[in-house]
């Protein structure tokens, strides 16, 4: 088992407000790690720092290290475009562009100049197929993507993310806006993604963490409290806070 992403002593503050406090955590390749914790615990901030999305927040102050395959990805000298191409992201709400289904999945391939027309077409098809969407949209790729259902849109977002062959996939509560059946489909998809990518998900849903995650990290008020194999975290939490959160969430 290789370490894909290594976070060392990461501190993030938005203005006066310290959101991450000295977090160190490792994400292995070809595994799913779930980040859980109450709202405001910093799990989304941690996730967004893994592909530099916090760059979009004007007052973000960042110290510490994030290494992708041993290479630092924080800092002004790092090519942020390259980082984001390697570390893909799926957001809480499906955020497809007001373009056709095809254009959405091809978007990353086109801006990153990854191949000619035929190659792009083949990759779009492959990405859509690996998200089990081909049967549903294969015959109408030129239709507006925003006409799809919420669950289909989110799966297309995943297809869009994996089309550019990233190495890590980040998911920020990807099922928060979906119905139970769509949620199950996405979870099934995550288990498939594990074979190729390192996957990190933020979730509020304990059962979801239990169903899909190999490891789970519990965070509280910007600190990483406990991190270990999912069954251990849920069955034998070492920390009282973890225990209370998990019980509260179950009860």
């Amino acid at each position: 088992m290789t370490d894909k992403l290594v976070v060392r002593n990461l501190n993030i503050a938005f203005g006066e407000k310290q959101v991450l406090k000295n977090v160190s955590i490792t994400f292995p390749d070809q595994k799913i790690v779930a980040l859980i914790g109450p709202s405001g615990c910093g799990k989304s901030t941690l996730l967004r720092s893994l592909n530099r999305m916090h760059d979009l927040t004007p007052q973000a102050m960042v110290t510490g290290e994030v290494l992708l395959d041993g290479h630092a990805i924080l800092g002004a000298k790092v090519d942020v475009v390259d980082v984001r191409r390697k570390v893909g992201m799926v957001f809480q709400k499906p955020n497809l562009f007001p373009k056709s289904i095809f254009e959405n999945v091809a978007y990353g391939l086109k801006v990153n100049k990854m191949g000619d027309k035929n190659l792009i077409r083949a990759r779009v098809e492959e990405a859509i197929k690996s998200c089990y969407l081909w049967d549903e949209v294969g015959d109408r790729l030129d239709k507006p993507a925003l006409e799809l259902s919420g669950g289909q849109q989110q799966r297309l977002c995943i297809a869009r993310a994996i089309a550019i062959a990233p190495e890590v996939i980040l998911m920020d509560e990807p099922c928060a806006a979906l119905d139970p059946i769509s949620t199950l489909k996405i979870e099934e998809l995550m288990l498939g993604l594990r074979e190729k990518f390192a996957v990190v998900i933020v979730t509020h849903n304990m059962q979801q963490a239990l169903r899909v995650a190999d490891s789970t990290a519990f965070m509280y008020l910007g600190e990483l409290i406990e991190y270990g194999p999912t069954t251990e975290i849920f069955n034998h939490p070492q920390h009282e806070l973890t225990q209370r959160y998990i019980q509260g969430a179950f009860g």
């Binding site: 090519d79 475009v81 990153n112 100049k113 990854m114 550019i164 062959a165």
Partner: protein, 306 residues
């Protein structure tokens, strides 16, 4: 890995993309800075050119004399007192007409009017805002002027009142829009508290909603003053442009803007007369800047309160 299939090496492609990105950012930043340069340019140009005039003319004469005869070969005179009085007379009269009317319209549209009525009046007001000032001036000549002459038994309708009525029409849309926004921004809870105490809609409007929207509404008025002071074609066409200190609204007046419009085309470049027109421009610019800043300050204060 899939990305090995790319045509050119990813490193050089990325370099080109980053270069493009940086160039674009620089470009849009430069464009945005142009606005700062233009405002500064206008300011310095007016002050600079206006300053030349003060080598020949005392500040006292310029502002407080009402004798304007800059073209005279012997003993030219540069007093803009009469124009300032004329400008203020027309502006204040316009506001006396437009401000209450604008507030009434804003209150009606936001508190009383049915959606259908509002959907009919709003576009009409927006349309009014789009009418070119030269067309409004023309209306002053062919409609308002003759109407005033007949009603008040005047030799002709080219009076301060004509200009004031036209400026009121022109200022109305911006007053209505800003005031309506201010009234709408008053929190619903204020009104509900008033209703809960047994007040009816009218009392609530007069005692609660309008006072709460106060600084926003006054901002609308000040903005209107700024616009009216700087309006050129309308007053040029409708007020007769006589160079005398007006006694009443039924006198002809010449505003600062009209003076610039009339004389700029004929004045020789680089003469004291030429510079004096820029000095008028500088005075006008500072006046309208003050009105705009005041309106902005009031609007900001209103936003903080609501």
């Amino acid at each position: 890995m899939l990305n090995n299939a790319s045509h050119s090496s990813p490193a050089t492609t990325n370099q080109r993309r980053h270069l493009q990105d940086r160039a674009f950012k620089l470009l849009v930043k430069a464009a945005a800075l142009l606005s700062v340069l233009v405002l500064a340019g206008i300011f310095f140009l007016l002050i600079w050119n206006g300053f030349y005039m003060f080598k020949e003319v005392s500040i006292w004469e310029f502002f407080f004399s009402s004798e304007w005869n800059p073209g005279a070969l012997k003993n030219p005179q540069y007093g803009i007192g009469g124009m300032v009085v004329g400008t203020m007379l027309v502006t204040i009269a316009a506001m006396v007409l437009a401000f209450p009317l604008g507030i009434a319209l804003a209150a009606y549209l936001s508190e009383v009017a049915s959606p259908l009525m509002r959907g009919f009046v709003r576009p009409l007001i927006e349309l009014l805002a789009g009418i070119p000032s030269v067309v409004v001036g023309f209306i002053g000549i062919v409609v308002v002027g003759p109407f005033l002459a007949q009603t008040f038994n005047l030799p002709n309708g080219f009076t301060a009142l004509n200009g004031a009525i036209l400026l009121a029409i022109m200022a109305l849309p911006s007053i209505v829009t800003v005031a309506e926004d201010a009234i709408r921004a008053v929190p619903r809870s204020y009104r509900e508290a008033s209703y809960a105490l047994g007040s009816n809609k009218w009392t609530t409007l007069i005692r609660v909603t309008l006072p709460a929207a106060g600084s926003g509404i006054i901002a609308a008025g000040v903005l209107g003053v700024g616009r009216a002071v700087g309006e050129t074609m309308t007053v040029l066409m409708a007020t007769g442009n006589a160079l005398e200190v007006p006694d009443s609204l039924f006198d002809s007046v010449r505003t600062m803007t009209a003076t610039m419009a009339i004389e700029m085309g004929e004045v020789p470049f680089g003469t004291t007369h030429y510079y004096s027109l820029f000095a008028i421009g500088a005075t006008l610019f500072i006046m309208s800047l003050l009105f705009n800043l005041t309106a902005e300050y009031l609007a900001a204060k209103f936003r903080r309160l609501s």
